[in-house]
């Protein structure tokens, strides 16, 4: 199950959905909002998604993980909207008969989500600047001030 949420992510409740008597292992990944990016001090983040396609692509990634690693259940929840430092941006959980597949599938899912799912992150810096991550180098620097720092 791949979903988006506008409110804070509660891993405990999500973890319960993966419970299965046939499973002896559970692995999860939590992505947190960090206070810096490439030397810039980050004040808060903004996530935006093209949800109709993102859910389809996310579901495909989960199905691939299940097929490839033979895990029993896989789920991913991604936050959108404004996030403060320390908040959970993304949660991935996998349950499997054994820990090895659970770790591999969990790693596969977060790596693929970051590469393939149409989600965008805008960082708002302490300096007052802001920038869309991975679009910075292509974008013209902001006209007002400190633009050069953003694009190095």
């Amino acid at each position: 199950m791949f979903r988006f949420t506008r409110t804070s992510i509660e891993p405990q409740a999500l973890r319960a959905q993966l419970a299965d008597p046939a499973c002896g292992g559970y692995a999860a990944f939590e992505g947190w909002v960090r206070n810096s990016h490439e030397g810039m001090r980050v004040r808060h983040l903004e996530y935006e998604a093209f949800e109709a396609l993102a859910v389809r692509e996310g579901e495909r990634i989960l199905a691939e993980a299940i097929a490839r690693f033979g895990v029993a259940h896989a789920a991913c929840l991604h936050r959108v909207g404004d996030l403060a430092i320390g908040e959970l941006a993304v949660w991935v959980g996998v349950s499997a008969p054994h820990r090895h597949e659970a770790f591999l599938a969990c790693r596969y899912i977060i790596d693929e989500v970051k590469q393939r799912v149409p989600i965008w992150k805008k960082e708002h810096y302490v300096s007052g600047d802001s920038g869309w991550v991975n679009c910075e180098r292509c974008a013209a620097p902001p006209a007002h001030a400190h633009g050069a720092h953003l694009h190095e």
Binding site: G31, Y47, E48, A49, F50, A52, L53, A54, R56, E57, H78, A89, V90, I110, V113, K114, Q115, R116, V117, P118, I119, W120, K121, K122, W132, V133, N134, C135, C138, A139, A140
Partner: protein
């Protein structure tokens, strides 16, 4: 062996001439200035012609030189009066005898790129001219045709003998005659009724060649477009053409190479043909997680 086909000689350079020196008697208004879909007939003809020729001119009568519809184009002024459309070609050949001339009447509102492209592909530089055979009467169509430099002397002699009909001129030569790919393309319009029927036909064609597309914008593109979504009527045939069109309207900083395309909420290709009602999203580099 045909010296042009054998490659020993390059074909003469091709210049273009749009005939806009007519008197528009039956139309009762200047045909060059008639508007179709926001462009004058003359602008439309020049836009079709210009990409195919080394130089493009509009043929005018001496008293039309300052006319604003014609003044924005390079002009060649008729030296003969009252001999009909051949006056324009004679003046052009006198000025640039070394060139072949692609001649277009300016009253062909249904003339399309396919018809022009076919004529250019089929051009036979070793003949006097290359022209279409009329879909109506089988005779040569002299006013969407290529006249090679070798046509200059016989054409001058034809006029000097008191003959003015360009169709009769072509019939008496070795002109290569082609069948029209689109049988209505060379319908000319002389009366207000014919103008009305051409307009109706163009409107119908236009609805077949444009489509309603919804575009949603995300992230950096949303900020640069200043909107989340819009509904467009566009002639763009593919997402690539659509992005080019939108880039002329908005200050997009992302090159198409770094974007992906979605059509109806599924990944698509830049070259996928767009269909009526499609919803398109251009996907900037992603950064989830």
């Amino acid at each position: 062996m045909d010296p042009f086909v054998s490659g020993r000689f390059a074909p003469p350079p091709l210049y273009g001439l749009v005939l806009a020196g007519g008197r528009s008697m039956r139309m009762r208004r200047d045909k060059a200035a008639l508007a179709y879909q926001g462009r004058t007939q003359l602008e439309r003809a020049m836009a079709l012609l210009t990409p195919h020729v080394a130089r493009a001119f509009v043929s005018v009568r001496a008293d039309q030189g300052g006319d604003p519809v014609r003044a924005r184009f390079a002009q060649i002024t008729d030296a003969h009066e009252n001999i009909g459309p051949l006056a324009g070609l004679l003046a052009a050949q006198a000025q640039h005898p070394e060139a072949a001339w692609l001649v277009l009447a300016c009253d062909l509102p249904l003339l399309d790129e396919a018809t022009l492209a076919h004529l250019l592909r089929a051009r036979a530089p070793a003949r006097t001219a290359t022209a279409y055979r009329s879909s109506h009467d089988g005779l040569p169509e002299p006013l969407c045709a290529i006249y090679e430099p070798r046509s200059r002397e016989p054409l001058a002699a034809h006029v000097a003998a008191g003959k003015q009909c360009p169709r009769k001129f072509l019939l008496g030569t070795d002109t290569l005659l082609l069948d029209e790919p689109n049988p209505r393309a060379l319908d000319n319009i002389n009366t207000p009724e014919e103008y009305g029927s051409a307009m109706a036909m163009l409107t119908a064609q236009n609805s077949a060649t444009t489509r309603h597309i919804t575009v949603q914008y995300y992230a950096l593109l949303r900020e640069q477009a200043g909107r989340r979504e819009e509904a467009l009527l566009t002639a763009a045939r593919t997402p690539r053409e659509l992005y080019t069109e939108l880039s002329s309207r908005y200050p997009f900083s992302l090159a198409p190479e770094v974007l992906r395309v979605a059509i109806n909420a599924e990944f698509g290709e830049w070259s996928t043909p767009l269909a009526e009602g499609d919803a398109v999203v251009f996907i900037p580099p992603v950064a989830g997680g």
